[in-house]
Every structure is written in C-alpha cells, then in structure tokens.
C-alpha cells in the first residue's frame, strides 16, 4: 500500500496530570495529603548527582513540609530553587507522541497536501498558596546539621540516631508522621542518611509573585545513584506515578533493581484515537504495567539531546530543551558554554570537553507491594534512541473506481482490522469501549466499506475465534525438540 508521510503532529496529554515529588509530605494539619504523580529530574556523571523535585503540593502552604533522605549533609550552595516551567518543557518534549500519515489515492495523480504542525500539549498544573517558618529543636538524638533559607524554603538537614527519636522530634515540632513511615526511617538512619526537611518560609513566599512553590534542586557527591521512593509510599494511597527525566554524559540510565521495559512503540492505531490520545496512552500504560507484573520501569524516551546535536526526535512534539533549560535542569557540564552568563568568572573549562547530554525518560508506577526497595540506577553507555510513538493513517480521498482503487479499499480494510486488533491488545480494553469514538469519525464518505465501526464486529469475532494458547511457543518447542532429536540421531550430541 502506498503511503506518504505528510504531517507529523501533535501532542500528548499524559494520562491524567503530572504532579509532585516522591519524598513524603508530613502534614502539619490533620488533613490527609496525597501525592499521586511525581516528577524528578536526575542529572548524573561520575559520583555527582543533581536531583530536582517538582512540587505540586495542593494544600495550604503553611502546612507544607517535605522530608527527603540524602546521603550527605548538603551545603547551602548545593540547594537551589529553579523555574518550575522546566518540568513542563521536559514533559512536553519527551512525552509519548502520535504521528499522522495520509494515504495517497491510487486512482488520482499525486497531489501535495498542506504541511501542518499541530503540537498541542495541554497539561494542567496545580499550585498552592502562602508559607511559614521552621522550628528548631535539638533533642532525642536528633541533630540539626545545618539550617538554610533558600528561596521561599526553610531547610533543615537532620541526622538522627534512631527512628523513634526522629519521629518524636517531628511530632514535637508539630509534624504529622504518616502511618507506616517509621518502618522506613529506621533503615535510612542506620544507612547513615541525613534528612532534608523542607518547609515554606511565609515571609519569603509573600515577596514572590504567583502562588506556587518552585522546584527544589539539590546536588551532592555520592557513589549511590538512587531515588528514595519508600518514604513517599508512607502516605500515598495505592499506586503512585513517577516520571524521571535523567541527563547523563554517556547514555541512558537504567534501573538496576527493577526491570526496565520499553513501552510498546511504533504501532499503527485507529484514526479515531487521535481524539483521545491521552486516554489511549493512559489505558496502554495501565495495561502494560499490569502485564509486566507491575515491578518495572517503563522507558518512554531516550535520545542524545546535546546542544550540538540538532536531531532530537522523530517527530518532535515540542521545542527541544534549550541549552539554558538543560543547565537549569542541573546539567552542570554545559555551564561553561552558557554565553549569556557573564557572571560566571570560572568559565575556563576546555572547549573540547565532552558536552554530550543524553536524555532518558522513565515512567514508574509503584506501590508498597511491588516496590519493596528504593530505585537504584546506573548510567550505561547505551546511546540507542527510543521514543514512544504511535501512528495513525488517514485514508485517501476521492473515488476508488479504478482497479487499484478497489485493491486499496481491500487493503485498507485489512489494515484497519489490524489496527483495531492492536488497539485491543495494547490497551487491554474491550472493543466496545471504542464504539462511540469509532462512530464519530466522519471523514470516510469515500471508504464506507472500511469504516472502523462496521469492521469492529468482524474483528471481535475473529479475535474470539483465535486460539488462546501460545501457538508460537508450541511451534518453537517442536522445532527445538526436533533439531535436538536430529542432532542426537546424527550422533552430534
């Protein structure tokens, strides 16, 4: 079948909305807090790590508090606040994408169609209000290692001798500890981790425009390359989503204590999915996550995004992160190249230094049962590119009375049946779920025979008739046994 790429489009609304960091929120009020989707930027090279945590806290800022275990006592220079729009840009850019193709009418002469780009990223974000100071105290084996004011945040770095003391300290100082958090605090204390405790400084917050909390960025040296998710599970109901945007010099990052799976990509899906691509991807992710037995991290994007490399995706659904965006995300090895920053007098890094930046986007959905351990990562030299990409194809228009046209309609029917079967396989949803969407596709005056809605019953029937047992596996076993027998017969083994 002749097909021609005319348009590369569009958008993603990643399942629902993207939110919050995976540390744990200790509420000062009695209200229950929920953190559903966290976003984190990880930058790693050698033993140096920069972690940026997106903040989507939705309650009263006065009550906001966050605890993150860190391997060392951070200096004030190691803590920054960054512009929260960076997360939006990274998400838009690396999110799963939909590609559109247009069929050519085999009965008509070739006509060039308009090219158009329609990136529509419609992610919403939630923010919150006002602030409040921190309280100091030293007792119960809890030591305040450092105390800083960074941006609108009051920050304490605590070390503790035992979890009971830490818990008591937090309670005495007006923090509410979520049930179950203590089981996690103890191992952290014994692993010699420090606790990065964050609250909002109300006076500083008032000086700033807007009513949101900016992301916090911390950097430190440690051979451990990990994300503490266990604390975040303490007060989260059910499953939590975590999107990790990672930048390294060498290549992809991967999780070392959970499986890494590439999300199915490059699939042809029915045209009507375009309307609800976000819902489609949400269903797909949910289904794949269940199929992979839940304890996995999904790869959604991997590419070399070095400023000197101009080819970052295919298709690109948003503007690539600029060099400044990358520096803001914590990619410190690009700093020397930031021409706009005249204040940086230490800008004497040699030009031939490795300025590569590899971007990995991993998507986790975790809960207490499937993820008993924190996420451990490694940087690999894997530079293979990857993107979650789904293809829709518009049918040709015109009349199909010529022989080639009739053949085209026949092929279109077969293709669409496959698309429908794939849609069901990918999302695990019954065909009926899509009935209304299918009916509402109204660009098919010319291809009446091949309308999705009319093909659905056929596909459904075919899929029911299809045997359940894995034919491939049985065939493979027969081949193996056969060849083993042959070798044995010939006396080779």
């Amino acid at each position: 079948m002749k097909r021609k790429l005319l348009i590369i489009g569009t958008m993603l609304a990643l399942s629902p909305l993207l939110y919050s960091f995976c540390g744990f929120y200790v509420s000062k009020a009695d209200g229950t807090l929920k953190n559903k989707t966290s976003q984190v930027i990880l930058v790693r090279d050698g033993n140096h790590t920069v972690i940026t945590m997106y903040n989507d806290y939705k309650g009263d800022v006065k009550d906001f508090a966050m605890v993150v275990p860190v391997p060392v006592v951070l200096r004030k220079d190691d803590i920054h606040v960054v512009d929260q729009s960076i997360f939006q840009r990274l998400n838009d850019y690396s999110a799963p994408r939909l590609v559109e193709y247009w069929d050519e009418n085999p009965c008509s002469v070739y006509t060039e169609k308009d090219k158009m780009f329609s990136p529509k990223a419609d992610l919403a974000t939630g923010y919150n209000k006002s602030g409040r100071g921190a309280i100091l105290n030293e007792m119960m084996g809890v030591k305040i290692e450092a105390k800083y004011l960074v941006g609108e945040y009051d920050i304490l770095i605590l070390s503790a001798k035992e979890s009971g003391g830490l818990k008591e300290w937090l309670t005495t100082n007006g923090y509410k500890i979520p049930a179950g958090a203590e089981e996690v605090l103890d191992p952290y204390i014994k692993s010699n981790l420090k606790f990065f405790v964050v609250k909002v400084n109300e006076a500083e917050k008032k000086k700033l425009p807007g009513d949101f909390l900016r992301p916090l960025q911390i950097s430190f040296n440690s051979p451990k390359f990990m994300l503490p998710i266990r604390l975040g599970m303490a007060n989260a109901d059910g499953d939590q989503d975590l999107v990790v945007y990672a930048f390294t010099r060498k290549g992809r990052i991967e999780c070392t204590n959970y499986r890494n799976v590439e999300i199915p990509t490059g699939k042809n899906i029915p045209l009507f999915v375009q309307k609800n691509f976000g819902v489609f991807y949400g269903n797909l992710f949910d289904n794949q996550w269940k199929k992979e037995d839940k304890s996995v991290g999904f790869l959604e994007y991997a590419w070399d995004v070095s400023p000197q490399n101009f080819y970052h995706c295919d298709p690109c659904i948003a503007t690539a992160p600029s060099e400044q965006d990358l520096v803001q995300s914590g990619v410190w090895w690009l700093k020397g190249k930031d021409w706009t920053d005249y204040t940086d007098v230490d800008n004497d890094e040699p030009d031939n230094e490795n300025k590569n930046v590899h971007f990995t986007r991993l998507h986790f959905r975790y809960n207490r049962n499937s993820f008993p351990q924190d996420l451990m990562f490694q940087v690999t030299p894997n530079t293979e590119t990857f993107q979650a990409r789904y293809i829709i194809t518009h049918p040709a228009t015109g009349s199909f009375t010529c022989d080639a046209g009739k053949k085209y309609i026949h092929e279109l029917k077969t293709r669409r049946k496959n698309e429908l079967a794939d849609l069901t396989a990918l999302t695990g949803r019954n065909m009926d779920t899509w009935q209304d969407d299918a009916r509402s596709v109204n660009d098919e005056e010319q291809v009446k025979d091949a309308q999705y809605a009319s093909l659905m019953p056929q596909v459904k029937e075919e899929m029911e008739r299809r045997p359940d047992y894995p034919v491939g596996l049985v065939l493979m076993s027969v081949v193996i046994l056969g060849s083993a027998g042959l070798l044995r017969w010939k006396g080779f083994i």
């Binding site: 089981e183 191992p187 690999t380 030299p381």
Partner: protein
Amino acid sequence: MPALVFRDARYFQVSFQFIFLAYGILYLHWNAQWWLYATYFGSSLLTQFSCEIIFHTHRTGSASWWKGLRKGIPSALISSFGLSLLLKTNNWHIAALAAMISIVSKYIIRLNGKHVFNPSALGIVAVLFFTDQAWISPGQWGSGIVMLFAVLSLGFIVVTRVQKLDISLAFLGTFGLLLFARQVIYLGWPLDFFIQSISTGSLLLFSFFMITDPKTTPNHAWARIIWAVAIAAVSFYMATFRFINGAPIWILVLAQPLVPVLDKLFPAKTFQWGTGKELRQEEQWFIQSVYTHSVM
C-alpha cells in the same frame, strides 16, 4: 535413563541457557538485539575454530582434527549464550572483542591443563573494564518468584550432572546470610526488601551457571567451598559498601588465578567434561527423580 539423553553435560547447559534467553526475550520483553547475538555466536565459533587450528598440531583433515574441532563447539556455544545473556553493547566490534577474549583465553591462559578464567566472565569483565562501551543490566531478570523456582530447578539439574552443587550452595548461602544480616537484622528493612535482593535472576544465574564452571573451580571439595564462601563475602562487601554493579562477576574473575594455588594446596582429581563418570546406584536414582519431578 536421563544420562543417555545427552552424552555431554555441556549440552544441558546450552539448553538451559537457550531457555533463559528465550524467557528474557519472550516473557520479560527484552529489547532483543539479534545482531548482537549473531555477533557473539559468529565470533565465538570462528575464534574457537581458529584457535583449534593454531594451537593444536593435528594434521588438517585427520579424524582427530575433526574430533577436536567438534569437541569445542559446545564450549563456544556456552560462552556465546553467557555473553548474550549478560553483556550489552551498541557496537558489534565490542561484542566481537568480548567473544574473542573469551575463547582465546581458554587457549593461552592455562595452568595444569585447566584454563584459568571462566571464558565468558573474563570476556565480560575485560570489555567492561577496558572499553567503557559495554554494560550489564543487573535488573533485567526482575525478581519474579516463579523465575526463582525455575532457575533453582534448572540450575539444580545442571550442577547435579556436573557434580558441583556444593559451590552454588556455598556461594548463595554465604551471600544470602550476609545480605540478611545486613538488610534485615542490622538495617531493619522489612523481609520483602531482602527477598527482592536474593531472588534477583542475575544472582541466581551467577550462582548456578557461572561460578559452577568445573574447569575454573578448585578440584578439592573443601577448597571449592572455601573459595565460594570467599567470593560471596567479597562480592557482598563490594556490592553493599562500594555500590559495584555485577560485583560477583568481577570478583569471580579476580579470584580465578587463585584456583591453581588452591589446587596445589588441596590436590584432587581434575574434572573432565563428558567422560561419563560412573554413577552409583543412588546417584542414578537421584538424578532420575530430579528429572521426573522437576518443573521440566
């Protein structure tokens, strides 16, 4: 009678490795890189044949020459599967290099009629250390409990055939005990934290398929056990306190030069592949029951 099914225990190993690779690709949805596997197998077999021609002086075309050539095939297959299961790279020449190092090491690094290094482990460690273009993925197997049983049963059969179950148990037992002491007793993590660590497919595969290679383990039973315990203890330290990924493989390769020393201190009969050790009545019965009751 199972002993008759395969004359050479190495074919068991090949079959199981094949099953693992198929499991990874079909069920764990690895990003199957056929060109990589093809490179490993092609280079291994080619190197094996070349080495056989270069290092063995039999007349080309003679019966013993063909025999020698054929005898090396399973060993090259085991190495190729070992590399396919563990080592990842984006470059075919790195893959070829790893395969070549594996095979050539068997011919040139020899002491007392045994090769010193486990071929695939050496190939892996060499390219990891010298090239910075390859990596191993400790998380690729996940920690599925079904996998645990499968690996145990499959591995059990292999080691039963080659009589080295002692080394697997000594390694896994020591490593597990140390992990348990550290994670559960000292740090106070819940039990499922520990279970996830110990049921990692990579660790189990190492215990049953890598460290057990009879050609690169001490001959004497006690020496073997001491050796395995030492590897477990050092690996535990490197993994827990030095955050080394794939620590056991590194330690295994570093420890292998000690094997000739241990063999000298604890003399015993050298293991021979495929010579069909006479089995006692109980052993035959045992192996037979393993077959009839295992997941296979």
